[in-house]
């Protein structure tokens, strides 16, 4: 979605739009509360916003939430890091060599045809219920969008700029540093933004399949004990994590790509 036009509005008008967002969120909460209050559904089916809030405070004080969030966050960040690092290295090699690309493309395409959710149980069987299997699932899910965007970004570098660099007798290293990296950055960061949110999904999928700690475990436990407010707390925490990661990458984009108009959202 392109919300660029918001940037061109005067400050006061922008504030007006921000208010609209808050109003809509408040309205959502009221609707939720009304349904929970008047539908007669028991709290283990649909807890009210207040019950969820109380459960949130409780899980904060007994340390349960912080501890499990920390585990999930570490899995997400490690998965994102390794997935992105491998994707960047392989992406660079594939962008440079058509031979390598054709050699590996059957595997790359096939790897995308495999639903990761379906093989997550296998990975947990092979690598155990500990952190490693979650990091691996995250890394696998992050890998592809970052890989594709690295390749597309590098291939989109204008040949005219390569000519320019060659006419200045630039070395391969200088071309990488002064041309390829900055030119590929916008598309690459777009991939990383997608990868960041996917990585949250990867971690939860892994934890739901089998784990000792993490927000996915909280969800499973909450479901098993009819502690539905806990499930809500865990889900909202996951949303907050995903939004925060997305926001951080978007912030990096704004900092690094000040030279171009970037679409927000």
């Amino acid at each position: 979605m392109n919300l660029n036009f918001i940037r061109n509005l005067p400050e006061t008008a922008k504030r007006g739009y921000r208010w609209l967002g808050l109003i809509s969120l408040a309205a959502g909460l009221i609707v939720w509360w009304a349904i929970a209050r008047f539908s007669g559904l028991p709290a283990f089916v649909l807890p009210s916003p207040l019950q969820v809030w109380q459960r949130f405070l409780l899980s904060l004080t007994d340390g349960e939430l912080v501890q499990n969030t920390a585990v999930t966050l570490v899995e997400i960040l490690l998965g994102l890091l390794w997935g992105a690092v491998f994707a960047i290295v392989l992406g660079y090699l594939l962008a440079k060599s058509r031979t390598l690309e054709h050699l590996l493309s059957p595997y790359l395409v096939a790897s995308q045809a495999v639903p990761l959710v379906a093989i997550a149980p296998l990975l947990v069987i092979w690598f155990g219920p500990g952190m490693f299997s979650k990091v691996l699932i995250c890394a696998l899910i992050v890998f592809f969008p970052v890989l594709v965007n690295t390749i597309v970004g590098l291939r989109a570098v204008p040949t005219a700029l390569y000519d320019l660099m060659h006419s200045m007798r630039a070395s391969q290293r200088q071309i990488l540093l002064h041309l390829e990296i900055p030119a590929a950055l916008p598309i690459f960061l777009g991939g990383l933004r997608i990868g960041a949110t996917l990585s949250v999904i990867g971690a939860v999928v892994g934890e739901l399949v089998g784990a000792d700690h993490g927000l996915g475990v909280l969800i499973n436990v909450g479901r098993g004990t009819y502690d539905t407010p806990m499930v809500f707390v865990a889900v909202f925490t996951l949303i907050a994590l995903a939004l925060a990661l997305y926001g951080i990458v978007a912030w990096i984009e704004r900092k690094l790509l000040a030279w171009q108009q970037i679409a927000e959202l």
Partner: protein
Amino acid sequence: MSTVPILTVRNLSVTFPDANGGLHALSDVSFEVCPREFIAVLGPSGSGKSTLLRILAGLLKPTRGSIHFADGDSPRIGMVFQQANLMPWRTVIENIELPLELDGENKESARVKAQDLIELVGLQGFEHNWPRDLSGGMAQRVAIARALIHDPDILLLDEPFGSLDALTRERMWTELSRIWQMRQKTVIMVTHSISESLFLSDRVLVLTQRPGTIKLDFKVDLPRPRDDEMRYTAHFGKLARKLKEAIG
């Protein structure tokens, strides 16, 4: 002007491989360039004039023939393309500094030289703008400044004003003429404009249709410094007619 050539081109031929036995772009091109000479290579499109420039810039290997630079095999080259080719992620002044950065020159002295060139090309006040903020003419001024900053042995211009509108183009001729008067570089400029080649150069090499060969090596005897008025004199018209006849 010294008579020892800075650049000697001998029997240059270029064939691009294709399905039917290869495309002859250039055939047996020979010429010499003296230091501080401004040479225009004039020809219709498809005469291989850009190919010639790309060979001189080291972007392309000739099929046959040789290029010899007086100062050794890897001369310092400043090149200006038809498009400005600025790096969009660098500000105006950072774009101009790029060649020095690649040479490993320190930042302070690069900044001083870039500032000098900003003034030479008349872009004061735009040092820290992004390229996206510039008009075509301004962008091309940045490209010219960038090509001059590392004090190249030879300046190669590939239809540098081809993408500008007619009015801006003529203003840029006067600008380039003034810049050349101040810096006195050896210049080889490719163009398909007769007035552009006459107004700017000391010598015009007329290339034929593909495969390009030199049909005419023509000395431009217009006095320097040149101004706009000169383009409307009878003598300018006479020279233009001669070139027109050579192109055919």
